[in-house]
């Protein structure tokens, strides 16, 4: 393992301190001597903040407009950036998704490159409704060696109910017969956001600080012909964790955490914290564990219900995806964006 330097990269400590203003207000409120003028000030200020708070853009504005500078260059030449348009191979016969919808897409900034401080980050991508056999996820180290790979059958929840018994679509055979899976049969409802966390408890080494890892998600349209895969890729670099930021996060509410992470440009933490605001995820987890949900078994950032309105979460979600040029994906994943395990 590399020996990490006890030093943060420059340009790193740009956190929002807006919440200190609010803390200050609470202190003022407690003052007994100047209670009347203070109350009026508080009232005026809170009216002001309610007025602007009603506008969801107030929260969204605190997600940076543009996640990375247009002239941003990742630390090393990292091959092809996020390929949102083709989703990898542009194979017209790979019709296990509806061509009108975006293909599988890595949720990463335009350069394809995102930062984390997590030793075992959570990685997310957009997945359109599909008739695929399976999904494959692979994490590569700097030498392009696979260090973690997952392949799994998709939840039939990706299909409309009447199709959920379809085990696997039939595709064009090697002889070139026409595909019996016509495009019209591909479900057209919205896509989902899928996430995987690199598992912490199986003996996988934590991501090395400073190293850049590549990850790839493939939608396996035809298990017998992998050239028909639709794939997308992203990069992740782990930086040394910052104790100040950790302290801030521990004191912040779940929505506040999103903005703290965003202002620190920790892409993977920001994305994971927005996704965890999703109330569906909360309920699916509780029903999932059938009441034996224990704090020990739930990652800390999922514990507290955000108590936020759906519209507010949607606003943050849209702002975040817009900041990385994924407007189309944002619209596709509103309100039902997290792949739920509730079945």
């Amino acid at each position: 393992m590399t020996t990490p330097k006890k030093q943060q990269p420059s340009g790193y400590n740009h956190y929002s301190h807006n919440h200190h203003v609010l803390l200050g207000l609470f202190h003022l409120r407690r003052s007994h001597l100047v209670i009347i003028p203070m109350i009026s000030i508080v009232l005026i200020l809170s009216m002001f903040s309610i007025a602007s708070g009603q506008n969801n853009a107030n929260r969204s504005r605190r997600i940076p407009d543009q996640w990375e500078q247009s002239d941003f260059r990742p630390p090393r030449n990292i091959g092809s950036p996020r390929s949102t348009q083709s989703g990898g191979r542009r194979n017209p016969s790979s019709n296990c998704i509806n061509p009108a919808l975006p293909p599988p897409t890595a949720l990463v900034p335009p350069s394809g490159f995102g930062i984390t401080q997590e030793p075992y980050p959570q990685i997310s991508w957009y997945m359109p409704p599909n008739l695929a056999a399976a999904v494959e996820f692979i994490l590569f180290d700097e030498d392009d060696d696979e260090i973690y790979s997952v392949q799994y059958a998709l939840n039939p929840g990706n299909l409309p109910p009447d199709r959920s018994s379809v085990p696997q679509p039939q595709f064009t055979s090697a002889q070139g017969e026409p595909s019996p899976a016509p495009v019209e049969s591909v479900p057209v409802e919205k896509g989902q956001v899928m996430s995987l966390q690199i598992p912490r408890h199986v003996g996988i080494q934590p991501l090395a600080v400073g190293s850049i890892y590549r990850w790839e998600v493939s939608l396996i349209c035809d298990i017998n012909n992998r050239t028909r895969d639709l794939y997308t890729t992203g990069y992740v670099q782990r930086l040394l964790s910052n104790p100040d930021l950790k302290a801030q996060i521990q004191q912040a509410s779940p929505p506040e955490q999103v903005f703290i992470y965003a202002n620190a440009r920790l892409w993977y933490e920001t994305l994971a914290s927005v996704i965890s605001l999703q109330p569906d995820r909360q309920t699916s987890q509780t029903s999932q564990t059938n009441g034996v949900a224990s704090p020990l078994l739930t990652p800390l950032n999922l514990e507290t219900g955000s108590g936020m309105e759906d519209e507010n979460i949607d606003a943050i979600w849209v702002a975040l995806l817009n900041s990385v040029g994924l407007e189309q994906i944002a619209q596709q994943t509103l309100s039902l964006r997290v792949s739920s395990a509730s079945r």
């Binding site: 393992m1 030793p119 075992y120 997945m127 399976a134 999904v135 996820f137 696979e146 260090i147 973690y148 790979s149 997952v150 392949q151 799994y152 059958a153 998709l154 939840n155 039939p156 929840g157 990706n158 989902q192 956001v193 899928m194 996430s195 995987l196 966390q197 598992p199 912490r200 408890h201 199986v202 003996g203 996988i204 080494q205 934590p206 996704i275 995820r281 699916s284 987890q285 999932q288 564990t289 059938n290 009441g291 034996v292 224990s294 704090p295 020990l296 078994l297 997290v338 792949s339 739920s340 395990a341 079945r343």
Partner: protein, 255 residues
């Protein structure tokens, strides 16, 4: 006559002693029987530990003093879960230095041999109890009610000769939540109490996973008795892999 009776006498004495000892250590759990839960259809007979090459061959060897690769399951390898996305525990042995990093494969399949979930990863060959869960928000198809599934863990010694894998297997079935484990019953109970309830209801996978989580932070007698009840005593004091590899003690150096 006397030739025959002597060994029987010994056997009787030994079993009497072990019965006493067993009841002292774990009064309610001397032997895991899994309640009324049984595997469904034709599930074959998976093996918790293989008889043959459990310790590998040259170039891919379990260290002399390490326990073998083993699924943390009852002796007949069968257990039940209440979850669609359960957690699986297995012991990864300490490998000799030459073997590291080790390539591990975890697979769960339905009884028609369709892969549900397959993971491959490298480890640094340190020993410890690993736990892996079917991830919940990744679109993974969960386990269906009353269906049996077979899972296995393999240490892949040679990718082009999978016959040399070191392997362990387990069976799992997802069952409906029994009334005594309804959320309303469990509400307000401590995690230790919940784990005990799961254990006494025969819900193997959820009980052992919860106890392992508790035991990460504190010693837990129930963990010891549960492992003893399935004859995995040599795992009682093994570390749980926790993602902080530098602090996980390598219990056995290369031999």
């Amino acid at each position: 006559m006397s030739k025959l009776s002597r060994p029987y006498q010994k056997l009787f004495l030994v079993s009497l002693i072990s019965l006493c000892l067993g009841s002292l250590a774990a009064p309610s759990l001397a032997q895991w029987n899994g309640g009324s839960y049984r595997p469904g259809g034709n599930v074959g007979t998976p093996t918790r530990t293989q008889s043959g090459a459990t310790r590998g061959t040259r170039g891919c060897r379990v260290a002399e003093t390490s326990p073998s690769l083993v699924a943390v399951v009852p002796h007949n390898t069968f257990g039940v879960t209440l979850k669609s996305h359960p957690t699986f525990l297995f012991y990864l042995p300490v490998m000799t230095a030459r073997t590291t990093p080790s390539l591990i494969e975890f697979v769960i399949r339905d009884l028609d041999d369709n892969d549900i979930y397959k993971v491959r990863f490298n480890t640094d060959g340190q020993g410890g109890i690993a736990s892996i869960s079917l991830p919940e928000n990744s679109g993974v198809k969960g386990l269906e009610l009353n269906q049996d599934y077979r899972w296995s863990v393999a240490i892949i010694c040679q990718m082009n000769d999978r016959g040399r894998d070191i392997v362990t297997e387990g069976l799992i079935q997802r069952v409906a939540v029994p009334p005594e484990l309804a959320p309303s019953v469990l509400q307000g109970k401590s995690v230790v109490e919940q784990a005990e309830l799961l254990s006494s209801a025969g819900i193997w996978y959820d009980a052992v996973a919860l106890m392992a989580e508790i035991r990460r932070d504190q010693p837990l007698n129930q963990w010891t008795s549960l492992l003893q009840a399935v004859e995995l005593m040599d795992l009682v004091n093994q570390p749980l892999l926790d993602g902080r590899s530098s602090t996980t003690p390598a219990t056995t150096p290369d031999t």
